[in-house]
Symmetry: C2
Subunit: 126 residues, 2 copies
């Protein structure tokens, strides 16, 4: 389906996810790329990359949208069911390589879980 051309813009955007293991705020990407591309373009590329299983998104406590690299996802199937963690000191958000234990609750059939954790990362706990 979605044919994606590897344009300059796409390469540039992907390069920003490369060096880090942290998630990135959509809004920050737009600010950082202001001189190079339009915010509409940023949003559209993020959408495409998510549909292709290259990145995944989630909302933080304040409702802002975060994006992070996927590991082993495809356009067919996203398997990013892991918790996300934000450090209250450095504000960084990271994907935690831990499995979520989905609780069993009577009268509810739970199919999916989004877990957002808050605390202190190791670098800020000194």
């Amino acid at each position: 389906m979605g044919i994606t051309r590897k344009t300059k813009a796409v390469k540039k955007l992907l390069s920003l996810f490369e060096p880090t293991v942290s998630a990135i705020l959509a809004v920050d990407l737009i600010a950082q790329l202001k001189e190079e591309m339009n915010k509409t373009t940023v949003y559209r590329i993020l959408d495409r990359l998510e549909n292709e299983g290259v990145i995944h998104s989630f909302s933080g406590s304040n409702g802002l949208k975060w994006y992070a690299k996927c590991t082993g996802c495809s356009s067919d199937k996203h398997n990013d069911i892991h918790p996300h963690f934000q450090c209250t000191s450095c504000k960084k958000v990271t994907c935690l390589p831990v499995e979520i234990k989905i609780p069993t609750v009577k009268n509810y059939t739970i199919e999916n879980a989004a877990v957002f954790l808050v605390g202190k990362c190791s670098e800020c706990s000194s």
Copy 2:
């Protein structure tokens, strides 16, 4: 500190939380009360009630703000650390009276957890 007057607006707003156990979208409250009060007033009352421990808030998967009744909270201390559940059929969001098992992750000190579950409620599972 925050002295809250029991005005007509406050009573009206509280009455909407009374008959249901479900959470309510801030945006829906504003739409529903459009004829009776200004949206600024709605937001301000919601803020106050949350500070007083009468209601608590959380964000849904799309970043929209939900509010629900508290049980046993005060202005001093909120203890609404429970998961929230949204049914994919009826779209209703409810507080689940279940304790969250906060995971232990190496290198991270976790202080708080927001869990948003998605699935089917019992009324929609037929």
